[in-house]
Amino acid sequence: MSGPGGGASPAVTSVMVCMGPGGVGKTTTAAALALQAARAGGRACVVTIDPARRLADALGVSDVGNEPHLVPAPGKGWPGQLWAVMLDAQTTFDNLVGRYAAAPGQAEAILANPVYRNISAALSGTQEYMAIEKLYELQESGAYDLIVVDTPPAQHALDFLEAPSHLARLLDNRVFRLLMTPTRAGLRALEIGAQLMLRTISKVAGGQVVADTVHFFTQFEGMEEGFRERAARAESLLRGELTTFALVCSPRRDSMEESLYLVSQLAAAGVRPGTVVVNRCYPLYPPMPEGAAAAVAGTPLAPLVANLEELRMVAESENDQLARIVAALPEATLYRVPFLASDVYDLDGLAEVADHLAG
């Protein structure tokens, strides 16, 4: 399956990018936001990155690879459609190489190159780039009303927003480009600084590494233009009017500091999240009347009152943290998702979260 078909008219696709610190429930929130859109009648697709296994199972994306998968609606279902993809950065990158290969056999040669394997598997920023590439691909299909993208945990928003051009620049590296014409004239053209740099890399990492890299850039010849253009288009999708950003966080100080830092980074890039989702909030119960704690000491009521006071303490200090993000993004829509009885790992759990993201 590769998306909703059946003659549906191409949609104007909105995009929502979920950003936030690690461990705050970004993936779950992204899925719940997409579910909420499906419940409102839309064709929604969530791109998940590294979801917990049980959540992946619930969405049915555990072993369906890199293409959108229609999540079967339980019971009466929902009026729209919920699609889910589990991002496979490697396959996405491989496909991209296939798409831009100019000569027969070029793609195969690149895929087998050890330097390519390293770039596609381990280089930081690749996962971010591929998430955006996947988003771009899905958006281009015109098959969805809303695409929600989960992102890898980030403190540095620009790492995400600029991942495509960052990698495209790397693939277009001047030093290595020049090296591909190792004639006398080419070498002379090579700036002294660049030569020194290569010599240093050889010294540190061994000459073989430099040779492999040069080989890779030779194989890549002719594709860099296509990569660069597509990267620019993917990036402009992120900056376009149809894209909004959701900040996902928890009301703990550490998470809040990271979130506020992220917001300041986004602001510097001209982006302001329109949605804030604060997960795992403790409810604030009404206080006990004055003197109640002393009056109940030693009675069976004492632990009940002690518990209430403890939970109120957390909730109040959480509210202090919450106030900071509200002050930083006063115009954003704020959703508070309470601490749920258990982790979210099935569609019922997702629906429970989605209830708190409605309206």
Binding site: G207, Y261, L304
Partner: protein, 343 residues
């Protein structure tokens, strides 16, 4: 088990766990406990390349009541009158590369290599290079300590990347050995692999919260760390355990009304409802936590060290003191000791 014995098991303790479970806090608590034992403890954090401010490093400093921004040079976060102290530093691949090049006689080039973005090219050419540079710096500190250098730490706590990334991070020197190529980087990778795979020198402490997903991920990560990175595991810290209160099993407003009458307290309906709802939430959470702690015990044969939940969204010195007391007590407790012996 005494805290001193605990810290004598390995000089480098790698602290990792799922994001949001409290790795940095636990690193700080371990360092604080070591300092209480008169040891010199160093928290080693990893910064992102080129970053001037890291919320994670600010978080560690805040726990010790400091506003300092941690950098490559070690900062003092606390010291005890009897000699123990807590230090911290944040090492980025860039700074580690610069120092590495200095040490290998390439001083003139080093700044330029970093500022021109050449680190990216090096990273492209050499698998796992940035991670390896950071680990190489860690190993250098460990060697200095082993050689008994006067300013070297007794205990090094590596505040490692989150669980999934930690496997890749700690695997990087092995990956580098597999890749072709020689040069000083290969030699350094060999040294780092040696350190990581020597349980006398280096052990991993996993951090989890007593909840479904973090526990599952911890069990999975534990296996991967042993198989792929070749590191030995020391213990799992169960962070955020709610102290168990003896609450009525099925709290409702009507029952609480009777208890209030008996105690001679007048409560309004919303207060009664609040008490009941708060108790129900606590009971559900306590049950979930107990079940997950038990599951963790079944699925991962590691000593568990429990740290209590802090009823505050902001962790500072008072919470650090409470958590350090709790960790010391957890180490001293009986059942854990027998598990230690079994390993």
């Amino acid at each position: 088990l005494s805290s001193t014995t605990f810290f004598s098991q390995a000089r480098v303790l790698i602290v990792t766990g799922k994001g949001g479970t409290g790795k940095t806090t636990v690193s700080g608590v371990l360092a604080n406990l070591a300092a209480r034992e008169g040891l010199r403890a160093m928290v080693f954090q990893i910064g992102a390349p080129g970053a001037r401010y890291e919320p994670g490093t600010a978080q560690l400093a805040r726990l010790f009541g400091s506003e300092e921004v941690l950098g490559y040079e070690a900062s003092v976060l606390g010291s005890n009158p009897d000699g123990g102290s807590v230090h911290a530093r944040a090492v980025t691949p860039d700074t580690a590369l610069v120092e590495y090049l200095h040490l290998h006689g390439m001083r003139r080039l080093s700044r330029r290599l970093v500022s021109s973005g050449a680190l990216d090219v090096v990273a492209t050419a050499v698998p796992g290079m940035p991670d390896m540079l950071v680990l190489g710096k860690l190993k250098q500190m460990e060697r200095a300590a082993a050689a008994g250098q006067s300013d070297a730490p007794d205990v090094i706590l590596l505040d490692a990347p989150a669980a999934g990334h930690a496997v890749r991070f700690l695997q990087s020197p092995r990956g580098l050995l597999d890749a072709a190529g020689g040069g000083p980087v290969r030699a350094q990778a060999e040294d780092v692999v040696q350190m990581l795979s020597d349980p006398q020198r280096c052990r991993v402490i996993l951090v989890t919260t007593p909840e479904e997903t973090p526990v599952s991920e911890t069990v999975e990560t534990a296996g991967l760390l042993e198989q792929r990175a070749g590191v030995s595991l020391l213990a799992v810290v169960v962070n955020g355990r709610l102290p168990v209160l003896s609450l009525p099993p099925q709290p409702d407003a009507a029952g609480i009304l009777l208890m209030a009458r008996e105690a001679g307290v007048t409560l309004q309906p919303d207060e009664l409802e609040g008490l009941a709802a708060a108790a129900r939430l606590r009971l559900v959470r306590q049950d979930v936590q107990a079940a997950q702690v038990a599951r963790l015990g079944r699925e991962l044969a590691l000593p568990q060290l429990e740290l209590p939940f802090c009823f505050d969204a902001d962790l500072r010195r008072p919470q650090l003191a409470t958590l350090t007391d709790a960790l010391g007590a957890a180490l001293a407790a009986g059942p854990v000791t027998s598990l230690w012996a079994a390993r």
